[in-house]
């Protein structure tokens, strides 16, 4: 371990966690053979899925666009290998809510032919910010740090904001995960060239690469890669504290600036992208290959050969586990992501997606302490470790029956669900879980309110329309009566005149 760079700001709270990374960092990244069937989800959630461009029975090749995204919520999807489209159907997505999303199923043919449109990007594109941004959007590149937010709209957020610097996130602060570490060791030059392409898109010159101090090999490799063309890119070593790799936390550490509540790093002049995302951009420029694979850390005592694997998106997790030597007898739980923020999955029949940075096979779920929950003793430990400086004990008090006003007051929306408070709570209260539930309950409430508001509008519009119609009918009637009245008067006058004439 080396010393952190001087002059960094301090992160509030956070924890020093046992890294548990050594058994996956030993071996280089291994390529996983293409699985016989790929399951390619068309988005993260059902409401935001990409539109399929192929039908069952179509032949596809690697890199061929098979679904068109709807930015910014979803990105284009490309076939991860060549084969035949078997079906397009709804499958549960590997995510916390686990709702079904439409997926394109591909039976691969083993040839792994590349689509003819996938050619290295010419200089005319890589030098032109707009064209390059378009290429990144077309390639459906996602943030590979774990949230899988489409990269192109995120880059677009930074445009015109007066950005100071791009921050490449190589902190990888969560225990067990080491895919970024291995990637930096092996493909440092690609990451740097990807960073340069991103800088071109953004039209800025500064880039900070943040690496935690427990990755000396990655640091050396990156340093060597940057030394070849040093202008603009600076490496920064972070103290090894979880969650220093959170976007807002990273910005705070590096620059001392606080991302405003509900805001984005771009609001204070920075844009954070993962190192893996930079590598994907470099790969696109060098070979024309869109996002069809990523590096996944497969680890835990439930797997025979822990390590990092480059795997096609859409590969069933069971196939990846088999490629990693298969399960040991201690495999009982599957977590996608790290032990702190990962999602516990009920089985291994999910595909690897852009957000799959790590698969953790363990004997028991790491988040569960096993101890029974006891009442809060208001010790304040949770507030001490909270990196966002919230008061988890207060939030917890108001999250039972959800008290909307109090939760808003105590900043529930700012909670990053890092799980630090859970770990230190002497009463073993699952705080993060209750915050997640409260957030979901509030979202549901907001949805109901919006719906009621819309119903009110429609009801009022209908009332107005009906009363207008009634009014029009009444006016017509009045007109008829008035006209009839005028006619009657004319008739009387006529008769009188005639009468008088008769008398004369």
């Amino acid at each position: 371990m080396t010393a952190p760079t001087e002059g960094l700001s301090r992160l509030h709270g956070g924890l020093r966690l046992p890294a548990q990374k050594t058994h996956s960092t030993g071996a280089p990244i291994r390529e996983v053979a293409v699985a016989p069937r790929l399951i390619m989800p068309l988005g993260r959630k059902a409401g935001a899925a990409a539109r399929p461009l192929v039908a069952a029975g179509d032949r596809v090749t690697r890199g061929q666009r098979i679904a068109e995204g709807r930015p910014p919520v979803s990105a284009n999807v490309h076939a991860a290998s060549s084969g035949t489209v078997a079906a397009i159907e709804d499958r549960p997505a590997p995510a916390r809510d686990g709702g079904a999303v439409p997926c394109i199923l591909i039976d691969t043919d083993g040839d792994d032919r590349l689509h003819e449109d996938c050619r290295p990007l010419p200089d005319s594109i890589t030098r032109d910010p707009a064209a390059l941004a378009g290429a990144v959007e077309d390639a459906g590149i996602l943030g590979l740090g774990g949230a899988a937010y489409p990269t192109a709209p995120k880059l677009a957020e930074g445009l015109g904001q007066g950005l100071e610097a791009l921050i490449l996130n190589g902190a990888e602060c969560e225990p067990c995960i080491s895919c970024d570490d291995r990637l930096m060791r092996e493909q440092a030059a690609d990451i740097v060239s990807g960073a340069r392409l991103m800088l071109t898109i953004l039209g800025i010159r500064e880039c900070l690469v943040a690496i935690e101090s427990d990755k000396p090999e990655a640091w050396q490799a990156m340093k060597a890669a940057v030394a070849e063309a040093p202008e603009g890119i600076r490496l920064v070593q972070l103290p090894t504290v979880y969650p220093s790799g959170g976007e807002d936390q990273l910005v705070r550490l590096l620059t001392g600036r606080e991302v405003p509540s509900g805001g984005l790093p771009a609001d204070v002049g920075y844009l954070v992208h993962n190192v893996g995302t930079a590598e994907a951009v470099a790969r696109l420029a060098a070979s024309g290959e869109p996002l069809v694979s990523r590096v996944v850390t497969v680890t835990g005592d439930g797997i025979a050969e822990p390590g990092n694997y480059r795997v096609r998106l859409g590969t069933p997790m069971a196939d990846l586990a088999r490629a990693a030597g298969g399960y040991t007898e201690r495999a009982a739980c599957l977590i996608m992501g790290g032990p702190m923020t990962g999602v516990s999955l009920p089985h291994d029949d999910f595909p690897v997606v852009g957000a799959t940075n790590c698969l953790l096979f363990t004997r028991e779920p790491p988040a569960v302490s096993g101890e029974p929950e006891r009442p809060c003793i208001r010790c304040g430990e949770c507030a001490r470790v909270c990196p966002v400086r919230l008061q988890p004990q207060q939030l917890h008090r108001h999250a039972g029956p959800v008290d909307e006003e109090a939760l808003a007051l105590f900043g529930l929306d700012d909670c990053i669900e890092c799980g630090c408070c859970d770990l230190v709570c002497p009463s073993h209260i699952p705080l993060t879980r209750s915050f997640r539930r409260a957030k979901a309950a509030l979202r549901l409430k907001a949805h109901e309110r919006r719906k009621a508001e819309r119903a009110r509008h429609r009801f009022e519009a209908r009332e107005r329309r009906l009363s207008r119609r009634e009014q029009a009918a009444r006016e017509r009637q009045e007109d008829v009566r008035r006209q009839a009245g005028a006619e009657a008067i004319r008739e009387i006058l006529e008769r009188r005149r005639r009468g008088r004439g008769d008398e004369d």
């Binding site: 935001a48 979901a440 979202r443 109901e448 719906k451 009621a452 119903a455 429609r458 009801f459 209908r462």
Partner: protein, 171 residues
């Protein structure tokens, strides 16, 4: 004696005039009670309360002619919110108005719809599309599940089904 009367009477009159002027000239600082009551109602527009919609019911509550426990779709939660707003006692839901249903939405069994268009004017939020002799359908997003379309349908081809979980509203 006169001095004492004046000492009290003059400021009293001054304050009285001041208040009268303020009440007439200054804008009311709160939205009218009806609006605030209407904001708490679920906007189902089902008329189960005996009034033709949520706003008329809100008006009736505001002028004291209706109880706060006549809204089945709002249920206990709405009654509690109204009780808090109005400083009245939270009563159990009036069984004469109905029972609290879960969130629901109307669905037309399209094979059985005869295109009579009678359900169209019954919908308080214009959530049914169709025309005479053409198939009707319910816009799920806009339907409040008020059940008012059930009665006019001559072939009983409208079902009320529980609302599907909303994508994006929970996770």
């Amino acid at each position: 004696m006169l001095g004492a009367v004046l000492t009290l009477a003059v400021p009293a009159f001054a304050a009285g005039f001041g208040l009268a002027w303020a009440a007439r000239r200054l804008p009311a600082d709160e939205e009218p009670l009806t609006e605030r009551i209407d904001a708490l109602l679920p906007q189902t527009q089902c008329a189960q309360c005996g009034y033709p919609g949520c706003r008329p019911y809100a008006r009736a509550i505001a002028d004291g002619s209706a109880g706060i426990n006549q809204c089945p779709p709002g249920g206990e939660q709405t009654i509690r919110a109204l009780a808090e707003l109005l400083g009245r006692e939270a009563l159990p839901l009036d069984p004469a108005c109905g029972t609290e249903p879960g969130p629901q939405v109307a669905v037309i069994r399209e094979a059985e719809c005869i295109g009579c268009a009678r359900c169209l004017p019954a919908c308080p939020v214009d959530a049914i599309v169709g025309a005479p002799q053409y198939l009707h359908t319910v816009i799920e997003r806009e339907c409040t599940g008020c059940e008012l379309c059930l009665d006019p349908c001559p072939v009983d081809c409208i079902d009320l089904v529980p609302v599907r979980p909303v994508p994006g509203a929970e996770s």
